[in-house]
Amino acid sequence: MSRVATQRRKAAFGRFWTTYRHDRAGMAGLIILVFFVLVAILAPILIPDDALDVTKADGERFDGPSLAYPLGTDDSGRSLILLLAYGTRISLTVGIAATLVAMIIGTAVGIMAGHFRGPGSHVLVGATDWFLVIPFLPLAIVLATVLGPSTLNLIIVIGITSWAGTARLIRAQTLSIEERPYIERSKALGAGNWHQMTRHVLPNVLPLVLANTTLTVAIVILSETTLSFLGLGDPLAPSWGALLDRAFSSGAVSRGAWWFVLPPGICVVLVVLAFTLVGRALERILDPRGATA
């Protein structure tokens, strides 16, 4: 890339950042996100492997919060705050990876459904509507059961059940862009379908895809928690959903071990909230109708 282009991009990012900094909700979301991402990255470095090993756990079972165990211990005497930190890693990884899958499928289906006319488009729109109306949980449970419990399968299951909303949105935007004269111009100069979709439609729908991504991540993390809580995730990976499942099955609620039940739930709510705040802020800033610059 030439220097001019690099400078222009720097300047554009500078303008974007200035606007974003004044969006209080967006900044709050961003700070929460940065905190969780740091925890996720640093977890394997700061936490010794022994801490998660049931056979080497040194605490009492269901011990309340103390100096040695700030959030108490679980049913086998492991420190809950360390488990929670490790869970951040898995929940965020699954959330972001599944969102990527959903976004790629959703954008591709949306652009194709908007670009092509005729039977092919009807099939794509029909498939989108089918995925929109079918209840998420039964479908996800069936898929997860068929594929078997593992983190990768969880990503696939959530990815292929969460793209329909994005596809709808992108199709609508594509239809509007297809009517613009520069698409007619590109047809007149001999461009094929692939060229029109990748060179003209995609760059114009990309801001919408980005804003929608952060909103989808929030939903996907909730889905991951739900499926793990139902025991459909990797049983060996202590994600937040899996922690809640364990708390439930070991009777933590009836024992009054609130430190086992509340923190994973609060973490999920915080991350979902943070992604939603950031997503809404991006939407506000990237939407050309609201632009002040």
Binding site: V4, R180, Y182, R185, K187, G190, H200
Partner: protein, 312 residues
């Protein structure tokens, strides 16, 4: 061998009320190095006619007749052949340059688009720079985005794009819409100058008979999907024969011509709705010299004029 030949071209748009004729049998010729002007009101079918050249009409349009580009009928071309002909043999300068440019790509990339698609030049950057110079823009402008240019500059970019693959024919569909008269004159001079220098043919579409009279070699005046008068540009501008052409020419007062100042100008009524074209001569409800015969007789194009009162 003509560069472009319309042979009895018809276009019907399918609608709920049945087919609506937009173009009703147009026969025209364009030679190399010649500029043909097409004049007419909004809705007379001139833009539809332009779009048939590269078969750019929407799917509900049914095209009849023959459209020969270098003696090959465009209307029966296979899809792959059509794509390779588009822009490489005939290019279009669209109206409204701002909307015909993609806002998120630099203009250099957009001018390069047809060159890359048709692989007509090896050094794409050099060709883009050369094209920008040809239309009077500095080569460094290639890095600009459409919103950074003025209206006239954008139209120059559109012209550079049309020239990119050195086509034989350029179709300019109201290239001067929304430009002020100074820029309008510059853009038209540039366009006609390039067409003559490079030996191309051009079809220039406009509602402004004055513009066409000074830039074209020949003019065809269209009304309700038909050519009503055709001939040498100055002849049509100075001595219009058809009553519709007279009204069009009368709409542009000439400086220093006292007779024009007092002559009645304007034309009552609106052009007919294409789905409900009057019988006989399509122009008779608005015609100042219409007689009873005009409402029923079919009128043919005789000596370049479609009117039974002329030459009779």
């Amino acid at each position: 061998m003509s560069l472009l030949e319309f042979r009895d071209v018809t276009v019907d748009y399918a609608s709920a009320e049945g087919p609506i004729p937009a173009v009703r049998g147009v026969t025209l010729l364009v030679e190399r190095g010649e500029v043909l002007g097409i004049a007419g009101e909004s809705g007379c079918g001139k833009s539809t006619l332009a779009a048939t050249v590269l078969r750019l009409l929407p799917e509900n349009a049914a095209i009849g007749g023959e459209m020969l580009l270098d003696d090959v009928d465009v209307l029966t071309m296979k899809w792959g052949k059509l794509r390779s002909v588009r822009w490489a043999e005939a290019a279009i300068v669209f109206q409204g340059a701002l909307h015909a440019l993609n806002p998120v790509q630099s203009i250099g990339d957009q001018i390069a688009e047809p060159i890359r698609l048709h692989k007509t030049a090896k050094d794409v950057d050099a060709r883009v720079a050369q094209l920008l110079m040809q239309v009077g823009l500095p080569a460094s402008r290639a890095k600009s985005y459409p919103h950074q240019l003025s209206g006239g500059q954008r139209q120059r970019v559109m012209i550079a794009m049309a020239l990119a693959c050195s086509p034989d024919l350029i179709v300019a569909d109201e290239p001067t819409t929304a430009l002020d008269v100074m820029v309008l004159a510059q853009v038209l001079d540039l366009l006609t100058g390039l067409v003559r220098d490079l030996g191309m043919g051009m079809v220039l579409i406009s509602h402004d008979l004055g513009v066409l009279g000074t830039t074209c070699d020949r003019i065809a005046v269209m009304y309700a999907g038909q050519v009503v008068e055709t001939g040498a540009a100055l002849e049509i501008f100075d001595h219009p024969k058809h009553p519709y052409t007279k009204a069009l020419a009368g709409a542009f007062p000439r400086v220093g011509d006292p007779a024009a100042r007092y002559a009645p100008v304007g034309l009552p009524g609106d052009p007919p709705y294409p789905g409900d074209i009057p019988a006989g001569c399509a122009f008779h409800p608005r015609c100042p010299i219409a007689v009873d015969e005009c409402t029923s007789a079919s009128v043919a194009l005789v000596d370049g004029v479609r009117c039974i009162r002329v030459g009779a």
